[in-house]
Symmetry: C2
Subunit: 343 residues, 2 copies
């Protein structure tokens, strides 16, 4: 499904994003400490970005060193869409929402005459897009409410088992970036805890984060929907509501990290301007810090997009990464492989 | 300071609660697995409540057993005030707020003529209480804003180093319950992660949770204030705002657990009706579960209060604990010691 969103406000609303991967076991077990001398990042070409990551990890984990950081404070945060897996041409969570609306349609005859549902069900993507962010939010609310978070994770996992990317013909769970999977494992092998901090909604990401990235639910931070506590037939339930409580994008990322983790990360990875504030706050802390931006410049193996893209828009990051002391990762030049190997 | 709050709404607003303890090292290192045969709960008298805890821990941590739970899912949640430490006759966080207002008063001449500040500064507690929850919230906002969370933790730690409870003449950080400290360590020694889920505001509790309970910031859940992201003199800052974002009490407890941990606990400990829904949701899950209420029935060594107390009110829990299958811990009969030993 190829779908270019002409909505300037969409990038700001990246909570509509994130992508799924059911129970794929892609490299989920934490790597044992690599034998000394083994390359912890084999899918990375030698160069300044690989070196920057390796030197940072050595510096903060060498006891007695000037830059040593205690394990409890070795916190690294990662955006998900476009940083850990494919986000182009459309955030996978949006594709899930569309499919879920189609699936629920028989129970909602009123949708036949109500936009944005009507347009979606008629296959009129232009009509869907005309509804803008408001319309997408309305569909997300309809697709992601009325169940408990546990039930919803099952719904997402079921979808991820069959849905495939139109171009790569592979499940979304296989379209994670192998070099970033290596970074996650490398950091964890060196005493870091790795957190996702993404615009995708928390419960969508929890459906695959453990299986695909080895990241447990309590280390997944994202846009939060409202929940309500209810007693039904004597049973207490937490139910997902069709409304947002917190938008985990831009300013929201450092705020959510401060509220939920309560520690400033020492390393942060992103790919769009929605991640700018997270990298800015992370790298402004005292002591050694690491900020890295994944730049989508590989139109052959993946996609090339930045300044003019409605999805994963990157302007400020491109203009300021050098002044900020961040690394700009070139997918084309820094990565030997893009996607994790097929299973 | 003895202060009985005649506010029926205060108990509902237990986020005004929680108490402090600076860098006291009371038993903060995770206990190594106890040698087989050693009593993991030496401050507990033998009896059904001690037995209930020990049998539960054995059941869920015995591999191959019917009730076995994988370590990643061994989540236990604890209320703080009245469950892990003293809350009577007034939540320690409220006492901190009062002291902080007095400390800030010279910078706020307008407070001399504005209630509730005016009454507090004049030592007129009746006048303070007349302002009700609204007045207390206003003071909390004034006392806990305008700094970063890191700065605020330092402010709380400084206060905890000198403030003492009026009756026990000891720092609040020493007024934690020794039997509950043992439960925390016992659970962690058996693969559990222990979370605080309390009505106190998160950043107040983070000032002492690691030092006093061995619970790191990311495992402290509480009432959240609004934060804002700002750039000051080119530096990115997360700043505490004088407004609440989420009230972590009653229904809010299971909701916050579902949003932030993303897993239903298998054990929960509380002491007031503000904890009822957390215990209810925890123990309604499938498999073996543990719900325990600390009952303050020891007027000699601590205090005796429940149904009629404005602080830590316990009515529903007393009426329904047996039907719910929970244990009611008698401080008087179950505990050999109440407070952690003086250092």
């Amino acid at each position: 499904m190829s779908l270019q969103l002409p909505l300037p406000s969409l990038d700001r609303r990246r909570w509509l994003a994130a992508v799924g991967a059911s129970l794929a076991l892609a490299a989920c077990a934490p790597m044992a400490t690599a034998p000394s001398g083994a390359d912890p990042l084999p899918s990375w070409n030698e160069g300044s970005n690989k070196q920057r990551i390796v030197e940072f990890v050595k510096a903060v984990s060498t006891e007695g060193g000037r830059d040593y950081v205690a394990p409890g404070d070795r916190i690294a945060t990662f955006d998900n869409d476009g940083t850990l897996w494919l986000e182009y041409p459309m955030y996978t969570q949006v594709l899930f929402v569309f499919d879920r609306i189609r699936e629920l349609a028989p129970q909602h005859p009123e949708w036949k005459t109500q936009d944005p549902f009507k347009s979606l069900l008629a296959g009129d993507m232009k009509g869907v897009m005309a509804g803008g962010t408001k319309g997408l939010l309305e569909m997300l609310g309809a697709a992601q409410s009325g169940s408990t978070p546990e039930e919803f994770e099952g719904i997402v996992q079921r979808w991820l088992q069959t849905a495939k990317d139109a171009r790569f013909k592979r499940p979304y769970t296989e379209l994670t970036y192998q070099p970033m999977q290596e970074v996650l494992r490398y950091l964890r092998a060196n005493g870091f805890r790795t957190f996702i901090v993404s615009g995708g909604t928390v419960d969508f990401m929890r459906a695959f984060a453990q299986g695909v990235y080895g990241i447990p639910n309590e280390q997944v931070i994202g846009t939060r929907q409202k929940f309500a506590f209810e007693i039904r037939d004597g049973k207490p339930l937490v139910m997902m509501q069709p409304a947002l409580e917190f938008n985990d994008d831009q300013d929201g990322k450092p705020i959510a990290i401060a509220q939920i983790i309560g520690k400033r990360p020492i390393a942060a990875f992103g790919n769009s301007d929605g991640d700018f504030q997270m990298l800015q706050w992370t790298t402004a802390g005292s002591g050694r810090r690491l900020g890295m931006i994944v730049h989508h410049d590989d139109g052959v193996r993946e996609y090339a997009y930045d300044r003019d893209s409605p999805v994963g828009k990157l302007v400020e990051g491109l203009d300021r990464y050098q002044a900020m002391g961040w690394g700009l990762i070139s997918m084309k030049n820094d990565w030997k492989e893009v996607f994790a190997p097929a299973k």
